[in-house]
Amino acid sequence: MRQPSEEVSATSLAESWRIQRRVIWALTLREILTRYGRHNIGFLWLFVEPMCFTTGVTALWTATKAVHGSNLPIVAFAVTGYSAVLLWRNMPFRCIGAVPSNLSLLYHRNVRPLDIYLARLILEAAGAGISFIVLVLFFHFIGWLELPEDVLEVIGGWLLLAWYGFGISLFIGALSVSSEAVEKLWHPISYLLFPLSGAAFLVDALPPLAQKVVLMLPMVHGVEILREGYFGSRITAHYDVGFMVVCNMLLTLFGLAETRKVSLTVVPE
């Protein structure tokens, strides 16, 4: 009945990777069960919930004939824009409070704060991604939306946005452990960033000065790449992949450093 001892003082990198994957998988399954349970549609909420958001915004923008500075169909505009917003806006909220509410899990020594964050982020990104794909296919099926011109570029833009979401969420989530002000401030900041994030406009439609200002926000670049992939020749996109990659790397670095600080000081309850 005894199993070989697997923890040695200097765990090899491959072994660490195996343990990490196992722990993140366990946490992800647990998260699905605690968040969605086994009642009614269960884990389908994972993408039905963001779909409701995107559909609602699409309906609202269509009804009000929202001005977005191009002749693109509003449905296509809303689906591409709001799916991007879901990534960077909801992910930090999932990380705020994630460690304090799961302190007792740290009694299992392989569970570290980073794993708790990663499990929640993977789930959030999966939900946003599946909802994007399902909505595109659904609207295409009923004839409101054409399929993207360049699928790979859409995926690329989406991945850059997801990476941005990962970085900023780790940073904000870990920072919120030591200061409650972070949570209070992130609410207004994320709200104010939404109209500037590129979800509701094309950079090309803005006056030159405004273009410069909004292009200081990394997520605008991601949305522009995603839209260029989707609409191709029909729009002129403004973006700088290098700028977004550098921003993402810096955010990831700060996020990991802040998470490490949490791991060193956290006290399991």
């Binding site: 697997e6 003082s9 196992r22 366990a26 399954l29 309850e269």
Partner: protein, 220 residues
């Protein structure tokens, strides 16, 4: 082997940093059973968390070359909205054990019957403790951490736990932390006393008990 070298732990408080553990050194070899005596507030729980790897020391070294359990029968890690089985599955997955083989054992040992498939928040504290103990026995560790006396359920269940732990797993290392000298005398071959954040080792059990008695008397 588990080795702690010059371990210090400090916590920030309103009145500055509090030194909870000072230069603690400890070595446990495979199969060894060591008791750690300490009064309330001596730093026992902090020491247990640091040995288990749940918490990191402020300074010093903690080395493991054998696997260490979480504090035995610890039920705090249960998610109340999940069923007993879901909680079992989670812990098995974290430790890389196939949960499906273990359900029968937990069902049988915890005597929870159909409640195992109900949310843990509907359990009484006794039921929780039985589930926690049963799950602790599912993952095989080289060293078990025992925080306070494992007094779970009624006398008969208590017997069952003692058999499972001290007889069937008699070859494992154990670290028992308690304020009860009798419990430690029953189960340990060596004892140390934790007082005001310092860990005092002694050559024999009796010497440790005498020292602990004098410490307690001094404080009274």
């Amino acid at each position: 082997m588990i080795r702690l070298v010059d371990v210090n732990k400090m916590y920030p408080t309103q009145d500055g940093r509090v030194h909870v553990l000072c230069d603690v050194g400890l070595e446990i070899c495979a199969g060894e059973r060591i008791g750690i005596l300490g009064r309330n507030g001596a730093g026992k729980s902090t020491l247990i968390r640091i040995i288990s790897g749940a918490e990191l020391p402020t300074s010093g070294i903690v080395q493991h070359s054998m696997s260490v359990s979480w504090p035995l029968a610890f039920g705090g890690a249960f998610q109340g909205s999940l069923t007993g089985i879901d909680n079992l599955r989670f812990i098995c997955r974290v430790h890389g054990v196939d949960p499906e083989d273990k359900i029968d054992f937990v069902e049988d040992f915890s005597e929870l019957g159909l409640y195992l498939r109900e949310p843990v928040k509907s359990y009484s504290s006794g039921m929780r403790a039985r589930l926690a103990f049963a799950i602790s026995m599912v993952i095989e560790f080289d060293c078990f951490l025992i925080d306070e006396i494992v007094a779970v359920g009624d006398a008969r269940f208590h017997q069952k736990c003692n058999y499972e732990l001290f007889v069937k797993r008699g070859d494992r290392a154990m670290i028992i932390v308690s304020h009860d000298a009798n419990y430690i005398r029953q189960h340990c071959s060596r004892a140390a006393v934790l007082s005001k954040g310092r860990l005092y080792h002694s050559d024999s059990l009796d010497e440790a008990f005498d020292f602990y008695a004098s410490e307690t008397a001094m404080a009274a």
